[in-house]
Assembly symmetry: C2
Homo-oligomer: 202 residues x 2
Amino acid sequence: MSAALTRSEKKRQDILAAAKQAFQQEGYDKTSMDRIAKLASVSKRTVYNHFESKEVLIMTLMAEMWQQVMHSPAVHFKPDVPVREQLIELLLREIEAMSDEEFLALNRVAFGYFFFEPDAMKRQLERMGVQETAMMSWLKAASESGQLKPLDANQASTQLHGLIKAEAFWPQMLRIAPVLTEPERVSLAERSADLFLSHYQA
Amino acid sequence: MSAALTRSEKKRQDILAAAKQAFQQEGYDKTSMDRIAKLASVSKRTVYNHFESKEVLIMTLMAEMWQQVMHSPAVHFKPDVPVREQLIELLLREIEAMSDEEFLALNRVAFGYFFFEPDAMKRQLERMGVQETAMMSWLKAASESGQLKPLDANQASTQLHGLIKAEAFWPQMLRIAPVLTEPERVSLAERSADLFLSHYQA
DNA sequence: TTTGTACACTACACTGTATAGTTTACTTTG
DNA sequence: CAAAGTAAACTATACAGTGTAGTGTACAAA
């Protein structure tokens, strides 16, 4: 079913790809519809045949990118596996997720667009932060099982996210550092887990 | 000498204040020179008499905000004071610095302006990150004195900053959470120091 | 106290350009 | 041939920056 794109559908994809690239690199305001058309090798009219306005275009784009990105598998706490091993696994997944080019691209587009609209920004970040819930339930379970000390799951989750985002998200989203390599990710997950467990392991 | 502003100097200040507000709330692109003039209760021509272009205006603004913000006192490691106490003090200072409204405002303006120019963004962040150097030398000294385990000062500094920025910088810069109250700051400094020291204290 | 002078400020019209979105006349493709 | 695409000109608007004629203010000379 995937190669069976009609010409029209292909044009649509081209336009979305062009918009993704342009919005990511230049931002919404500085990207003209003429430029998107040119980048997509499509006439401007065709852009408007598929998307009735620039606003609709970026919204559709963000919605579709969202689809691609959202697949949180939800890791459950297993009482029989060592906490360290589990935590490293969990952190590694989060690091992989935030290192995904598509995820970064979505964030760049959304940040550029919502940066000056705190309410929309907040909603956006809350959607993104669904993972935090998964981590929080893992932390709660690990704590209740007695393998971690009693803790404020919210605080602990924020700490863990702070640790990994400082190296694996913010610099990449701002394009001031390249995406982490696999060994770097493993090292980050291990160091973060070790720091965390030194304090929280029962 | 402070109240002795000529009319011209006052107008200049009004314009900069208006620009600060507008650029912070709406962003560079969406803020017109007409709007700035109106906000400053000044004619558009006066804006151009003081600043030859919009570009010069925002650059001047950022430079002046930079002056106000940059005053890093540099904390030195004292072998005779308990590490925990010193670290909390150091973290608290960093938290205060990043909670400063002027600092946040500068960051919002600069982010909005540089977000899509990675090179300029990088330079900006490197200037901002001067504090990180101070923290790193404290960490090195503390480690060499034997009070902290041997550590990679760079990594350790990133971890500490990750911990505090997750609560005291990113949410505030994005306007999705209010600036921390004094007790919240103390709590954050203590929790971060304790987590860190559980792992790194010798 | 009045008058003269320099200069910054104001109001407003104007130029030039960029850009969202539309229209039209014609072409390509399934 | 019908649906979708193309190129290019067009409308409407916003906005950076300029030019100008006149006004307000500070300050000094008379």
